[in-house]
């Protein structure tokens, strides 16, 4: 049997887990682990970020794009607390992640030692689970459990807090990486209830105005193929949540766009007027439902989710189905096929044809894909147009990360994702600063793919130090900075609800020269101010395969994101369609 120190066991366990990349930052409490990494990393690569928040977001981006767990290694105290925002981001979007944090030696815990913080306590509300290692012998089994918990059921981040003395290089222990995990209290469901599934199929087939409302769970559960088959065999309209974009192709005829606060008119109208809604891996988030009591008054709701706490949390489900979305959809598809072999299992085709007529009329009236709903004749570059052109230049095939704000919504609306795991954004927590580090995580996983970070001049400054990490590891992502000189979404709300009083949302005079900044970090910077320069700049940037290009694009400072739900007290169908029109 191999004898290893605690520090070596951490490294060996990560290797045994098949980890490719560890995103981290060294410091006192993890130096034994870093020394073991220096000697024994093998094929595993450590990525030195410039701030621990960047480590968590990079690991998160890697996890979202690949489906594999992201791995983070940080020191105690500030290293751990800096990681907290990234852990919360992953938690809100159910991203598998294992965060190893150093801790002060066991006999110093509780003494307010240097760089001591109660990481297990601080992270408790934002993790799926956490472990404090008490003895070195526990390291292999705890790390095994951490990966198991992070990646199964509804995924999420797991923190493993390791006191420094546990990793002491002098003390060696028997090392065996356990093959199996035994957790008597943790058994995620593997199949949906067949009776419930049968009821759901009956309700669905009888529907006259159905909508398939699919969320991030379809992507996390790798059920995109099943969703497509299911939707096509029924010919029902599909809407995706912000987190679910790409699960169903954005360019498909059956796709009615994103729903919710900034969803399309046709998606929100279809939802509001539906008689049956099947929610698949979606959680009726407040940015989707608008006022819950007014949500889709005529709809019967089928809700499939692997996490029972998501079901009937905000909107009551008529037919709840707890189970992984892939197996549940397979079961539903199987049932419909079986019915069809017996000459049944057809939806009400006439009613569905009428339903499509209504949906297409909504598309014609106010759809953002039938005609540009933004000003195409004005002097400014329009942010919507930047995203459309980005989509064209990258042939709709890029990985797009984003930060949070107007640019995020424009990207979600105008970049039509045809594949899952291409749209990487912080939907639940809404973390500014997410985009750039996430993009570097994606680029590591897919070095040959185009990776664009759509951001704004506000968000990009929250983790801009990661430009240095991109230089360090040669990660040529493309930064699309929609620069309007304001905190755009804050300004939009101030325009709409605070009579245009821009309380601390304007800073145009103090913005850095992003071109020089990019150059200072060793990258290429471009500033685009005129409409006619946009397309050539995008093409030039994406042609530079081995350089990070920072495109600082000056856009209309006063553009708003539309449609936008009228809140509070509005229903799904209550929307602003422009600065002057509403439904």
């Amino acid at each position: 049997m191999v004898k290893l120190s605690g520090g070596e066991m951490v490294v060996q366990a990560l290797k045994d887990e098949g980890v490719e990349y560890v995103f981290g930052y060294p410091g006192g409490a993890v130096l034994h682990i870093y020394d073991a990494l220096f000697k024994h990393a093998g094929d595993m690569t450590h990525i030195l970020v410039r701030h621990e928040q960047g480590a968590t977001h990079a690991a998160d981006g890697y996890a979202r794009a690949t489906g594999k767990p992201g791995v983070v290694l940080v020191t105690s105290g500030p290293g751990a607390t800096n990681a907290v925002t990234g852990i919360a981001t992953a938690y809100m979007d159910s991203i598998p992640m294992v965060v190893i944090s150093g801790q002060v030696p066991r006999d110093r815990i509780g003494e307010d030692a240097f760089q001591e913080t109660d990481m297990v306590g601080i992270s408790r509300p934002i993790v799926k689970h956490s472990f404090m290692v008490q003895r070195a012998e526990q390291i292999p089994s705890i790390i095994r459990k951490a990966f198991h918990i992070a990646t199964t059921g509804r995924p999420g981040p797991v923190v493993v807090d390791i006191p420094k003395d546990v990793t002491n290089p002098v003390d060696k222990f028997d090392y065996v990486y356990p093959e199996k995990v035994r957790l008597r209290s943790y058994n995620p469901v593997t199949r949906g209830h067949s009776g419930q599934i049968r009821k759901a199929v009956q309700l669905l087939l009888a529907a006259k105005r159905p909508v398939i409302y699919s969320g991030g769970g379809v992507i996390l559960g790798n059920a995109s193929t099943q969703l497509r088959r299911f939707a096509r065999m029924l010919d029902y309209p599909v809407t995706n949540t912000l987190m679910g974009l790409g699960a169903f192709p954005g360019t498909d005829r059956q796709f009615v766009g994103m729903l919710g606060m900034h969803g399309t008119y046709e998606a929100n109208m279809a939802m509001h007027n539906a008689d049956v809604i099947i929610a698949i891996g979606a959680r009726f988030d407040d940015r989707v439902t608008n006022t819950p009591s007014k949500f889709c008054p005529e709809a019967k709701i089928i809700h499939i989710d692997v996490d029972p706490t998501s079901i009937s949390k905000t909107v009551r489900a008529d037919i709840p189905i707890t189970g992984p979305v892939d197996t549940v959809l397979n079961d539903m598809i199987g049932q419909i096929e079986e019915m069809r072999r017996a000459g049944a299992g057809e939806p009400d085709r006439a009613a569905i044809a009428d339903w499509w007529l209504r949906i297409n009329a909504w598309r014609e009236a106010h759809g953002i894909y039938t005609a540009p709903r933004y000003d195409t004749n004005g002097p400014y570059i329009m942010p919507e147009d930047v995203i459309r052109q980005l989509w064209e230049v990258t042939r709709g095939d890029a990985y797009v990360t984003s930060d949070v704000g107007q640019h995020q919504m424009f990207a979600a609306q105008y970049y039509l994702f045809d594949e899952p795991r291409r749209w990487i954004n912080s939907g639940g927590l809404g973390t500014m600063g997410f985009g750039l580090p996430a993009a570097l995580g994606v680029k590591l996983a897919f070095p040959d793919a185009d990776v664009a970070c759509v951001t704004g001049e506000g968000s990009i400054q929250m983790c801009i130090q990661e430009l240095s990490t991109c230089k360090h590891y040669g990660l040529p992502v493309k930064i699309i900075n929609l620069n309007n000189g304001y905190l755009g979404m804050v300004k939009q709300w101030q325009d709409m609800q605070y009579s245009g009083r821009y309380s601390h949302s304007a800073y145009a005079d103090s913005l850095p020269d992003f071109v020089k900044l990019a150059e200072a970090y060793g990258h290429v910077g471009m500033r685009i101010e005129r409409k006619e320069d946009l397309r050539p700049a995008l093409e030039k940037a994406f042609a530079m395969k081995d350089r990070l290009v920072f495109l600082d694009i000056v856009v209309d400072p006063h553009e708003h994101v539309y449609p936008m739900h009228i809140a509070p007290n509005g229903a799904m169908c209550d929307m602003w369609l422009s600065k002057t029109e509403k439904t």
Partner: protein, 163 residues
């Protein structure tokens, strides 16, 4: 509506704080709470009382069930059950009150477990309402200290909460 939720959880550091944290972070209320290891030292039995409408209780039980440390859970108030709480109450007992307090303790089937020339400490078990009633019967004026264990409970009949 008042509910008694009883659960088995891993007897490990941090488990209790996760359960309690769930309540505070989601804005649920804990009225009483007690916890102790069972005959299996790896398991603790935790019983709490809370209140809320059906939807809140459903969320609480689902969220608790989801926790990795929680092995099994039941809502005792869903079926026939026995609930008990233990109270230790220290009262001023002088002059005529001494006899009166002794009588009240007897009526409520309490026991006087400590005596000084001016004090009684009375131990009482029963439902929450019974303990409340005793406090009311003796009156605030004589009460010096009240210690209550919080509700403990078990299902009647064959129903057993086991891992």
């Amino acid at each position: 509506m008042r509910r008694i939720i009883s659960l088995l959880m891993e007897n490990e550091p941090g488990a209790l704080s996760r359960v309690v944290g769930l309540f505070s972070q989601r804005g649920y209320n804990i009225e009483t709470l007690n916890v102790a290891p069972t005959e299996d030292p790896t398991l603790s039995r935790l019983t709490l009382t809370t209140s809320g409408d059906e939807r809140v209780i459903e969320q609480i039980t689902k969220q608790l069930n989801k926790m990795i440390d929680v092995v099994k859970l039941c809502d005792l108030t869903e079926g026939a059950h026995i609930e008990r709480e233990l109270m230790l109450i220290k009262v001023r007992a002088t002059g005529a009150q001494r006899e009166e307090l002794k009588r009240s303790a007897d009526i409520f089937r309490g026991q006087i477990v400590d005596v000084t020339s001016s004090l009684y400490t009375i131990m009482l078990t029963g439902t929450q309402q019974k303990l409340d009633a005793f406090i009311q019967a003796v009156g605030d004026a004589v009460i010096l200290e009240v210690v209550r264990s919080g509700v403990s409970g078990i299902s009647r009949g064959d129903r057993v909460l086991s891992p």
